[in-house]
Symmetry: C2
Subunit: 378 residues, 2 copies
């Protein structure tokens, strides 16, 4: 993947590099806007040795889309017309896609290779990509392509070196050479990806089995599901309430990132100040004074408050020190106390010292909370 | 910027491409871990024509760092030793940096170019980069480099085509050719970046002035400050309380992303359910029934509740439909109602129809809230 500035020479050498790598399909994103610095379509046309021609039907379609905005925003019509025309230029022999926004995508044959030109805004990119995959030019470019299979294993609470050791053990039992194996730490979890052609299915299955056996405690997903998927499934018929402090709303935001979460999410109180902890979640001021705001006792009281105030049957209390200031020798930056409660389940209480920056500590704390929630409910 | 997989041939052709582009300095990130798929150091050594040698002092330093983890996590000592040794291999004549984690960075002279090899984890990368910039090899590579100046203008509430029109007007007054101008829509704001050599200072200043004059209502930053910076400064001696629904904690998370925000942030109630709105923020059930949960009336009641319950003097109420379900003809997905209140200021109420996916609507709503807050307080 190559990212470059909107300079014609840089765009062109990026395309030339892809050509020299011998790929069948090149996908570009961005640089299709109405402003003069957006040059991708023209550079791709030059690369493919094709002239730019005005597609009048496309120009009318774009004009119709833009007219809606123009009326709503009271825009300068002349400015829009120049932009329209620019966006309606299509390399000869190429297929224009969309537009999903105002910028059409393109599928451009280029001397044995195919260039798919997509707009940058994510929603437009996704829509236009779907359309591109359905064109004949695209289908021909990928006919006879190698089929890769991919599996994703996810583990929590284990360092990368342990997986490295397991892979060295596996090599003695299994021929790993047809497998491409990558490991990556992401948001406090360890991801192991296996990629292979169909003939290596047995080697892949054998390795998955071996990893699952050696790391039974820490492996939590072999089917591609994320911890967010799993927690959402476990919460389905329940009602969750949260009292969070150092995560500052991030835990609630991660729960509600999921469509349909309103079915099981009552709400969260982001209780940054001690008064808010007492006023909104009924945490006794005396408890805070005795144990400190960052303590398992206060985490438990936050969970209790969340259970009661949101009429929930699953409650999370979370309090910690995200930093960079506010740490002490006894309670350093990164110290986070968790309490997970659910009716009919044993309460889980944990205090962890999370590494990293403020952002990392806050994000990591949400990952830990999700894993503790999984343990509580499964 | 080139992103490639951990395959030696791909890493090498990425380096060769950078060499062919004639850059003075190449920076790599990642691929320095203890696992066998991490090959960056070896590939860079081959690229530079330098042998890998074991740095014994470095090996001991890494061993000491790892020992701390090993004791805490009860890890397999043999697995660690193999990983240690791999991470202590340094190309002949290169400078080893750090390590900030367990993977040292490298500064490698490579036939007229310099390759800086950094570990992937962001915190380690930042620390090691700082060290790299202080090495002699680095300094020599950049001596006599062109000085670029950069300015960032930020605008809100204006489409890209309006800036394109302004640039066409500007061209008639100012020679823009020595300026590199890029425009980018990001999180609902429009960013205009000017990059130039010192000689083009007048052209750059002239353009900034022209844009500021033509778009006085929408330009909010010419000094690099973000809306988050500006809102934080405006809130400094105040106390903010939030009642948010469709943003699900994201607004609080954005406020608290900032170190020191506990000085002015009381807290937020993420009131997803109607009962939570009533129970925690005192929104009358009758009001929700009459106007619907997504209404300016309920937004105002959420702001009132946040003001009162958090003992705040600035209150935000925010309620909307993030989708993908839950929209109606009258109140479609993307409809968000905002209410901003502060003592001694005119209350701001707005209802906007935000475009995009659930993620985009939630994120965009936080941007709008920040801009309305700026308007309320400035």
């Amino acid at each position: 993947m190559l990212v470059c500035g909107d300079r014609p020479a840089d765009l062109r050498s990026a395309l030339d590099f892809m050509r020299s790598e011998g790929v069948d399909l090149i996908v570009t994103s961005g640089g299709l806007g109405p402003t003069a610095d957006d040059l991708t379509a023209q550079v791709v046309a030059d690369f493919a040795g094709r002239q730019m021609l005005l597609d009048e039907a496309l120009e009318r379609r774009i004009a119709e889309i833009v007219a809606v905005f123009a009326r709503r925003w009271k825009l300068d019509e002349d400015a829009l017309r120049v932009g329209n025309r620019k966006q309606a230029m299509v390399p000869e022999g190429a297929v224009a896609l969309g537009p999903a926004g105002t910028a059409p995508g393109l599928v451009v044959p280029a001397d044995g290779q195919v260039v798919v030109v997509l707009p940058g805004p994510p929603r437009e990119l996704h829509e236009t990509w779907e359309q591109a995959t359905r064109t004949d030019i695209f289908g021909e470019a990928l006919s006879g392509a190698t089929q890769y299979r991919q599996r994703m294993l996810r583990l929590f609470g284990i360092p990368e070196s342990e997986i490295a050791a397991t892979l060295r053990v596996a090599e003695e039992e299994i021929d790993l050479s047809p497998l491409e194996i990558t490991t990556c730490l992401r948001r406090g979890e360890l991801e192991v990806v296996l990629r292979h052609e169909p003939a290596a299915e047995d080697a892949a299955s054998g390795l998955v089995e071996l990893i699952a056996r050696r790391h039974a405690d820490s492996i939590f997903s072999t089917d591609g599901s994320t911890i967010d998927d799993q927690v959402a499934a476990l919460l389905a018929s329940r009602r969750l309430g949260i009292g969070e402090s150092c995560t500052g709303g991030l835990l609630a935001a991660r729960v509600t990132a999921r469509p349909g979460s309103s079915q099981y999410f009552g709400g969260s109180v982001v209780a940054y100040s001690n008064e808010a902890k007492s006023m909104l979640l009924g945490v006794p001021g005396e408890l805070i004074e005795r144990h400190g705001a960052v303590s398992e006792e206060v985490a438990a009281a936050l969970a209790d408050g969340a259970l009661e105030r949101f009429g929930a049957d699953v409650g999370i209390g979370l309090t910690g020190i995200a930093g960079p200031d506010g740490g002490t020798e006894e309670k350093p930056v990164g110290l986070v106390c968790f309490c997970m409660k659910a009716e009919g389940r044993d309460t889980i209480a944990r205090t962890l010292h999370l590494p990293g920056s403020r952002d990392e500590i806050r994000d990591r704390a949400t990952t830990v909370a999700f894993h503790l929630l999984r343990r509580l409910l499964s």
